[in-house]
């Protein structure tokens, strides 16, 4: 429809012609306000991405070619010395290849796990669903250092698993194969959380219909589930791919010990050696950006140009898909996943929080006690830092959801070249390690001319808040885009032609249909900010440390037990917040389920029946409906 294609292009005057033939809205005022609302979104989205991400990031990345851009005095003389010093060593080349292969392999493994869990959660009668949901969120929320720390405690010589099993386990994990598994076990919830909305939209009915039409379960996956979930799966996989590329914790510990060089390691070496080589760090970061760019191009080539509205059914479901004979096996597999991805590593950290720590590390000789917890409450980086992190996390998550909504809406139907560039840039940001984004923020927000115009953000909580927001935006937009694709265009154009403006469309269609998605994005950002370290280290205002800074400070002072206690306390509080949130959401959803379904039925043009019919056709081998 011509009208909806106009949405992103800023047209100064809405004319009668622009409204398109045959779509004359009943109320002139409604159309006018709707048009302005939708059009201004594009500008807000572009401005936000440029200021939050593009300018700071480019301030650093440009130094790959212009190393003296921020020197005293500044100079725009181009030089490729940074690139050359990076390329001089074939270590970098193998690191690049390793990073790429590891990220791709981890994305595949984590996606298989994540999609499997999403399927069990949404469509089947798998037992103890709340527990499985809890696991997904706990693995997702748990700071990666909690899990990495756990594995280290387990595998370190003389650690908890230092016996014969520890030896075998240690040797397996200290290999590229093991590194990939550790990462996959941490990152699979990204895939689950990306795929769940798509599956919820799809509902069980499609599977039932397909089975009724005689298709096997395998055929149903191949012909119905996977094709319809494809954009969500690819979106999740892309995030995981980029996450692995930008990971430093595992690169510096497990991978390094396994003689498995990764690019992030080169970046940190360049940034943390002295003199700091920002130019080389920028060159290495550009490699990561290029790798994600390539992956994104692959995504567009495979799934980018098709329509994926899965939220088309009317009612929610007929009945969950029974697991039948495979039920015990699947239950066992889920328990195994829970044990190796959360119980073991988190348990190891939790256990160490009850052990006194001397300067030489944890002191197992003196038994268990609560001394670390008593200390954690009294140290100067404890409680205050925790509250501060909580405030940042709530603010950044809330702003991230709002801004994510704006950007997703604005970019819903593509746009000009600027939108395409910003879109690409946004995802590549995930692959850029936090320390690079943080340094970019310093270069950009600490420029002397900003003093003259009294825009002093650097060194204030605002700069850290903006950096958190920038770090969260790619996730917010990617997940929301996947979810938004499921709202049929017909629903939006119907709303528009009935005269609904931006806010009405939001309130009546987008927010109700994707409400759970926004809550999930909020929690994702909240947990991410809560334990963020590299950006916080570079940008936290002096005197205002966050909890991650506090935990690292304890590590530095070799108070490992206190660090573990702080980690356990803050993770528990975040888990509690998440739990309350979901309990609240659930009771609300239940109360409103009836009205919402009815409203959806009214709004949507496609009827459930015709949809089921077409699904059955596809399943039975007919052509694409």
């Amino acid at each position: 429809m011509t009208r909806s294609a106009e949405v992103d292009r800023p047209v100064p005057q809405p004319t009668a012609a622009a409204a398109g033939p045959g779509l004359a809205p009943p109320r002139r005022r409604g159309r006018w306000s709707g048009g302005i609302g939708f059009r201004s979104l594009g500008g807000v989205a572009a401005l936000a991405v440029i200021v939050l991400i593009a300018l700071p990031l480019l301030s650093l990345l440009a130094q790959a070619a212009f190393p003296d851009l921020f020197s005293v005095p500044p100079s725009a003389t181009p030089s490729l010395a940074g690139v050359q010093s990076l390329m001089a060593d074939n270590y970098t080349l193998s690191a690049g290849l390793d990073s790429f292969v590891l990220s791709a392999a981890t994305a595949v493994v984590a996606s298989v796990l994540g999609v499997g869990v999403a399927y069990l959660l949404v469509l089947t009668d798998v037992p103890a669903k709340p527990v499985l949901w809890g696991l997904t969120w706990m693995v997702f929320i748990a700071p990666s250092f909690l899990l990495a720390q756990g594995w280290e405690l387990l595998l370190s010589p003389g650690g908890l698993a230092s016996g014969a099993l520890g030896g075998v386990l240690g040797n397996t994990l200290l290999s590229p194969f093991g590194v990939g598994w550790v990462l996959a076990l941490k990152l699979w919830p990204f895939s689950t959380l990306a795929v769940v909305p798509a599956l919820e939209g799809l509902g069980q009915d499609s599977v039932h219909a397909s089975r009724l039409a005689g298709a096997s379960m395998a055929a149903t996956w191949r012909r119905i589930l996977l094709p319809l979930m494809a954009p969500a799966i690819v979106a999740g996989a892309l995030i995981i791919f980029a996450e692995v590329l930008s990971d430093f914790g595992v690169a510096a510990t497990l991978a390094q010990t396994a003689n498995f060089p990764l690019v992030t390691y080169s970046i940190y070496t360049a940034m943390e050696q002295f003199p700091v080589n920002f130019s080389e760090a920028a060159a290495a970061s550009l490699f990561l950006v290029a790798a994600v760019g390539l992956a994104q191009w692959g995504q567009r080539a495979t799934t980018g140009r098709r329509l994926y509205a899965t939220r088309v059914g009317g009612g929610r479901t007929l009945a969950p898909i029974p697991l039948r004979r495979s039920r015990p096996w699947i239950t066992a597999a889920v328990i195994l996943l829970a044990v190796i991805s959360f119980v073991i590593p988190a348990g190891a950290t939790a256990l160490s929080s009850f052990v006194a720590s001397g300067a030489g590390g944890l002191d197992w000789a003196h038994g268990l006690g609560l001394g670390n917890y008593a200390a954690a409450l009294h140290i100067s980086y404890g409680f205050g830092a925790f509250v501060r992190s909580l405030v940042y996390a709530v603010a950044a998550a809330t702003a991230g959801v709002l801004l994510g909504l704006v950007v997703t809406l604005a970019w819903r139907r593509g746009g000009g070249w600027l939108t395409a560039v910003l879109q690409a840039l946004l995802t590549t940001t995930i692959a850029v390690p936090g320390i690079v984004l943080g340094a970019g923020y310093i270069f950009f927000w600490d420029q002397p001319f900003l003093n003259r115009i009294h825009l002093v953000l650097y060194g204030t909580p605002a700069a850290l808040f903006l950096a958190y927001l920038a770090g969260g935006m790619p996730y917010s937009v990617r997940i929301a885009t996947g979810a938004m694709l499921q709202i049929p265009e017909s629903a939006l154009s119907a709303a528009r032609s009935s005269g609904a403006g931006l806010f009405t469309t939001l309130r009546r269609i987008i927010v109700p249909m994707l409400g759970d998605t926004w809550v999930r994005i909020w929690l994702m950002l909240f947990a991410g900010v809560m334990f963020e370290l590299p950006v916080s280290q570079l940008l936290y205002p002096p005197g205002g440390p966050t909890i991650a800074i506090g935990i690292v400070h304890q590590f530095h002072n070799t108070l490992l037990g206190v660090a573990a206690a702080l980690t356990v306390i803050s993770t528990s509080v975040v888990a509690l917040v998440a739990g309350l949130f979901f309990a609240l959401l659930r009771s609300r959803t239940r109360a409103r389920a009836g009205t919402r379904t009815a409203a959806r039925g009214r709004v949507l043009a496609d009827g459930g029946e015709s949809y089921l019919h077409s699904v059955a056709q596809v399943a039975a081998g007919g052509d694409n409906a």
């Binding site: 005293v72 940034m271 943390e272 700091v276 920002f278 300067a359 030489g360 603010a395 320390i435 002397p448």
Partner: protein, 341 residues
């Protein structure tokens, strides 16, 4: 009505964020000391100074790597008054770029002992506040009988220590590069590289940081390790079965240095603070081990301060900061390629 409420809430949220940003944008910190540090005792020192003078201290505590990156990135428009971290080479480099205040002589300067005076640069651009040895040998007395106890660096090459030596990775652990540079300096580059390659062939365990290396030692996975001496003393004080060896050929000094920004936003507070740290009171605060951990176990650079641990007669080696600082990147890369992997 409902539509209006939604719009109002959204507008209010945006306005609140904008106001928050605006308010902080115009909040100019006044009469405060902005202090970047990578020391375990920085918070205690900040609190003590604030209590003594009433000047507000805003501390940014981080690891040395991010601290150096932050200070370098801020070069055009520095926000800090005082920086405090371990190692001369970075300080000397900042000084050579004119970033540090020179020729300042606080009254506490008279407190320096001979070690302190030997480390003070002629232009007073930075001030040593304590010294640790970048690397010493520590061994587990349960697994190493007295007859096999190491006394020199090359003793670690002996067959007895095959698969039994550990150290940190200089690319990750701050104090480890001076250890490597010190051994290359002592033995000469060719022999020094040979030394590390022999250790590597014998199964050297390279870990991320002091804590991990020491844990491996205490667990008996390795018999001896090369670590920073404050960390080694920390283990000994905790009652672990270890002995510490200062090779007679000498150990590299790793001074913790404090310096003032040449363009310090609050120069008066910065000068007061440095004077306070070098005073007897300030030095005692650095020794509050409960807060600071093993960083407190430094060798004093001021008169009348009793060290927490008695090191005995140590031969200190002072590395030529500009010379070894310039080679840091290439040596760390060499180490990564030939010893870590």
């Amino acid at each position: 009505m409902a539509k209006g409420r939604f719009a109002a809430v959204a507008t209010a949220a945006v306005a609140a964020v904008a106001l928050g940003l605006g308010a902080s944008a115009f909040a100019q910190p006044q009469q405060t000391l902005v202090f970047y540090s990578a020391q375990g005792y920085d918070q205690s020192e900040a609190t003590a100074f604030q209590n003594a003078t009433g000047i507000k201290v805003e501390l940014s505590d981080m690891s040395t790597g991010p601290l150096l990156a932050k200070v370098t990135a801020e070069r055009e428009n520095p926000q800090w008054d005082v920086i405090w971290f371990d190692g001369n080479d970075a300080m000397a480099n900042f000084d050579s770029q004119g970033m540090l205040l020179r020729h300042f002589s606080p009254s506490s300067l008279s407190n320096y002992n001979a070690l302190g005076k030997s480390l003070l640069p002629a232009d007073h651009a930075y001030f040593p506040t304590g010294v640790t040895a970048a690397g010493v040998i520590i061994y587990n007395t349960k697994t190493v009988p007295a007859k096999d106890a190491p006394r020199t660096w090359t003793d670690l090459e002996k067959p007895f220590f095959r698969n039994g030596v550990g150290m940190n990775n200089p690319a990750v652990s701050g104090p480890t590069y001076p250890i490597v540079a010190g051994i290359l300096d002592q033995m000469g580059t060719a022999k020094g590289e040979q030394f590390f390659q022999t250790l590597h062939k014998n199964g050297l365990l390279v870990s991320a940081t002091n804590g991990v290396t020491l844990q491996a030692l205490l667990d008996g996975k390795i018999k001896a390790a090369i670590v920073q001496d404050s960390a080694a003393w920390g283990a000994k004080l905790a009652g672990d079965p270890v002995k510490i060896v200062y090779p007679a050929s000498g150990v590299v000094e790793l001074p913790s240095d404090i310096a003032i920004n040449a363009k310090a936003p609050d120069m008066a507070a910065a000068k007061k603070f440095v004077n306070f740290v070098l005073s007897h009171h300030g030095q005692l605060v650095m020794q509050q081990e409960k807060q600071a951990g093993s960083d407190s176990l430094f060798a004093p650079v001021t008169k009348g301060l009793k060290p927490i641990v008695e090191r005995g007669g140590v031969k200190w080696v002072n590395l030529n900061a500009p010379q070894w600082g310039a080679q840091e990147a290439s040596i760390v890369t060499w180490f990564t390629n030939n010893v870590v992997r």
